[in-house]
Symmetry: C2
Subunit: 223 residues, 2 copies
DNA sequence: GTCAACAACATTGTCTGACATTCTTTCAAT
DNA sequence: ATTGAAAGAATGTCAGACAATGTTGTTGAC
């Protein structure tokens, strides 16, 4: 028997579907930060039973995508700027490392995929579709992280970025941010394509720092 | 009213207690890696109902402390060496950063606490109490991480170390590992005490690399 | 009118029990 | 020995219930 033929189709359970749906809902910002999630309401809206919902909520709480206070139930975290800063700092640490490794080891094929993702973001950056900007940018990173050679790094980075998804989408709709973001991402891409690890790390660090500055700006401007 | 007086005693729910108990049980290695956890058995052993147990299991799964495969249920992950390596690499990234930051910002008081933790580990290292070695070593890091100034870094580091707790305790009982570990930790402590960030980072990196080598050795030696 | 106590309501935490679906194992037949 | 089918075990999911806790609104006192 071929040893690693992973053909098994994982059945999707209600619990998993629910986690995915809620995660997406949180990303899309339909829940106000700080607002509470009422189990009974969610059950009706999602068409599932309370036990299934509660299991899904525990998963999300462990991912830090929601807070659960005993006897008060789940709510959307209202991140302070200190927390956001802390997340961006760790993100920088991980992302710079990932970009550096990626520059050393990415395949031709994946590099082409990365280029394609960059083009997609370029198109989105010029458009007015806020959602498209965020998702295409996410695709770009996702390819980099998938090629850094360390799945744990990838996993943790994904978790961190998820927690600040709202800030990212907000700051991405800041005047001019999409364009400068594009420039920074192009620099990252060029460095990776050239296999220049040092330059790639530099570009990546610059990009994260600018993203953090933009997030702060969007946060200060009240919105 | 004093604004930030966080006096609220968070009630502990059955679910939380269960998560903690199971986490501890996993750390202590009473479950064989790869072995399955049977809900009905755990319910009886923990004296709780299935819904509560299942919620706890979802939390642990999100922390990657257990695997859950649909229709097969939860099991203890059997980490491959590749995965362990990946975890150690990210741990290095985070821990080196934390140690470096800690060297710059730790208070006198916390420094004394760190020294005390080091002494506790020194005592444990000379003893034959395997559990004490692991816990005192964990205390030492925990103080460092708590003083790195970034709670996210701390949180993620804790999660990562949890996932390789078994390897850590195994390698710590390797002949001579505790003593060399002590020397490395003392070097870290000295650098932090001297406020020498560069040296602290160097010492930390060396320590993690040696720990990883020890883990590999203990893994290869079958056990 | 403002504030505090209290009652009514809403929500969560937890359990029991049930059933369909999906593994897993056993055992018989080829 | 391999295959196949049937029995058994375990999980996924739901419905309903009730106590404990939080929240809200009302009443009454000052």
């Amino acid at each position: 028997m071929p040893p690693d033929l992973n053909l098994r189709v994982l059945p999707r359970t209600v619990q998993q579907e629910t986690v995915d749906k809620l995660r997406l809902a949180i990303f899309s910002g339909i829940f106000e930060p700080g607002s509470r999630l009422i189990e009974s309401q969610l059950c009706v809206q999602l068409g599932i039973s309370r036990p299934s919902l509660r299991e899904a909520l525990r998963s999300l709480a462990a991912e830090r995508l929601i807070d659960i206070v005993p006897n008060r139930g789940p709510s959307i975290p209202a991140l302070s700027w200190e927390e956001v800063t802390a997340i961006y700092e760790v993100r920088e640490l991980l992302e710079v490392e990932a970009v550096g490794r990626c520059a050393q080891r990415i395949s031709e094929e994946q590099l082409r995929a990365l280029e394609k993702a960059l083009c997609a973001f370029e198109a989105a950056a010029s458009s007015n579709d806020g959602l498209a900007r965020v998702t295409t940018a996410a695709d770009f990173y996702s390819i980099i992280l998938a090629n850094c050679g360390n799945p744990i790094l990838e996993e943790i980075h994904r978790g961190l970025v998820a927690r600040i998804s709202l800030f990212r989408s907000r700051s991405m709709s800041l005047e001019g941010r999409a364009q400068s973001s594009l420039a920074e991402m192009r620099e990252i891409y060029e460095s990776i394509a050239a296999g220049d690890e040092k330059a790639a790390r530099r570009a990546s660090r610059k990009h994260v720092l600018k993203a953090m500055a933009a997030a702060k700006k969007s946060m200060d401007s009240g919105n």
